[in-house]
């Protein structure tokens, strides 16, 4: 389970040699939500809403200015390594090592997670089977397609069988088939047969949310503006079309887009 409360983060851009000090950027003002086990939670928001910053704080890469981040009851700021051991994160950057094979890429991360060698090998093969990329395992990742890279990066993130899975825009750059395969994998992982994982993913694509998520957290201008199922959000904004509902919720403050 992932719980985030009243998260805030401001960035101060580096000062130029001449000229005035730049104004700090409020990337995240007040984000808070709870993602339950066995459910897929979508973070939906326009570009620059603060989704990636929120997920980076969750992964312990950035220290928040205020607020709390909890993974299975573990505070991320106080015990970042224990929290990371319970999380599999597919970040915005998903670079692989081009001179290593897909298997070596995956086993490297499992070794860093503290897994034994034979255990890691078996896990790499099981993941490859689940993601349907067994044929890729012994190839060097140089020259992999976007979809192939994504599969290896996902296998790498899931190598320690984490109870919580965090994905930043996972379908970026994937074609229809790859997107569909990923969707099925995530649904299986959240189901009791797949381990009932707690899955959080960020996106700005409406259809993905409608098809995949059990609950939606709408983020705009660094704030959580709404939370609920797709149907609930539609009902709240008084429209049956999810896109209209999203625009009303996310851009409510903006001039010109009044309901």
């Amino acid at each position: 389970m992932i719980r985030i409360e009243q998260l805030a983060k401001r960035f101060t851009p580096p000062r130029r040699l001449f000229g005035p000090a730049p104004a700090p950027v409020l990337a995240v003002r007040d984000v808070g939500f709870v993602a339950a086990d066995g459910r897929i939670t979508a973070l939906l928001g326009p570009n620059g809403a603060g989704k990636t910053t929120t997920l980076r704080m969750l992964a312990g890469l950035i220290r928040p200015d205020a607020g709390r981040l909890e993974v299975d009851g573990l505070d991320v700021v106080e015990r970042p390594r224990a929290a990371l051991a319970r999380m599999g994160v597919l970040s915005d950057a998903r670079g692989l090592y081009p001179r290593l094979t897909a298997r070596e890429n995956i086993v490297y991360f499992s070794a860093l997670q503290g897994m034994r060698r034979d255990e890691a090998q078996a896990r790499a093969e099981a993941l490859a089977q689940m993601l349907d990329c067994t044929a890729l395992l012994e190839r060097r990742t140089e020259g992999f397609s976007q979809g192939e890279r994504m599969k290896v990066a996902l296998a790498r993130a899931l190598v320690h069988d984490p109870a919580n899975i965090v994905l930043d825009e996972p379908t970026n750059g994937l074609d229809v088939l790859a997107t569909r395969a990923l969707r099925e994998t995530l649904q299986w992982l959240a189901s009791p047969a797949g381990g009932g994982k707690c899955i959080v993913f960020s996106t700005h694509i409406m259809q993905e949310v409608e098809r995949l998520s059990d609950s939606v957290v709408v983020i705009a201008h660094g704030r959580t503006v709404a939370q609920g199922t797709v149907a609930e959000l539609g009902a709240r904004s008084g429209t049956r079309d999810f896109e209209d509902a999203f625009v009303r919720l996310a851009y409510a403050d903006d001039a010109g887009v009044t309901p």
Binding site: R56, A59, G60, L61, I62, P80, R81, A82, L84, A85, M87, V89, L90, S91, D92, A93, R94, G95, L96, Y97, P98, R99, L100, E104, Y108, F109, A111, L112, Q113, G114, A153, R156, A157
Partner: protein, 389 residues
Amino acid sequence: MKLGAAWTVFRKEWIDALRDRRTLAVVLLSSVLMGPLVLIALSGLVASFESHAERREVVLAGAEQAPTLVNYLQRQGFSVKPAPADYEAQLRRSELADPVLVVPADFEAALRRAEAPVLLLVSDSANKRSEAGSGRLQRLVAGFNRERATLALALRGVSNELLEPVRLDERDLASPQTRGTQITGMLPFFVLMAVLYGALNAALDTTAGERERGSLEPLLMNPASPLSLVLGKWAAVAAVAMLIAVLSCFSFIPAQWLLRSDTLAALFQFGWREALWFVAIVAPFGAALSALLMAVAIRCRSVKEAQASSAVLMLAVSLLPLVGIFNPGGEERWHLWVPALAQNTLMTRVLRGEALGAEPVLLALGVCAVLALLGVGFVARVLRRAAVR
């Protein structure tokens, strides 16, 4: 757990670096083979000078007009060769390796009448080999002059002691090894370059390269401390640098079998002992340089940017040893405090067969250890910030 993660990172980076075959091949060609190749080329040059000096030949144009001079030259053990007709053109084209002494038509008669006939020494200063021989010709003509003068004065009853009130004797204090360092003095420089180029690619790839590929952020999402990640990376980079350095040091051993000059081969004594000393001196330097290169590169978003940023460091490492090379013997205390220069100084001492002394070795080791600590500490501190920017 901490060292376990560092060991995992070390193994991965080591394999990764060794699989970069193209870069390794370039480094091997440019820095490991360079030293022995230059040494062998130099030995060829020295050998050609030596064989020339041994030939004891003088080229004369118009030798038949100067039997007295030819007689003198032959008594000095030189054989006289007639000059080819187009000797000027041949000298210009560097085909003729000897300067030519031109004898005027009435040399013998003018000499008898004491009219001071003029000999003409023709050489080409752009033709290095003929230049080397012209000094010898000048000495021979001076000797001829002195003999004629001594004879003339002795006939008039003047003692030889009056002509030479002062005598000059020479004694060379240089041992064969110190004489050899004049030529082998640049060996340490080649070893230092090998360390630099060995470390360079691995250092940039594990820091700026990791940022450029976007693999640093996922790497930091593992439950391993940044310090253990950096320790593993640094150890791998230093190991690659050492591999190149060891290859470079030991490549001089087979190289000396190919030396073409016997004198040079006798002067250049580089065996297993010297090679091992070289490795021991250069190892801490490689470790420090790796850490510094990583510290420079972690601030850069791409390998290309990092190459530009590390240019200053590379220039310093290539230029500092030159202080020692251009100033041989002028070794000063502060040299041992400066990395690269200190290693150059110590390796030169090994080549000369001098005792190193514990204090200079420990001093150089200490400076390198401090630099390595600073570099590794800095990279570990900024690693998180670098990943997200």
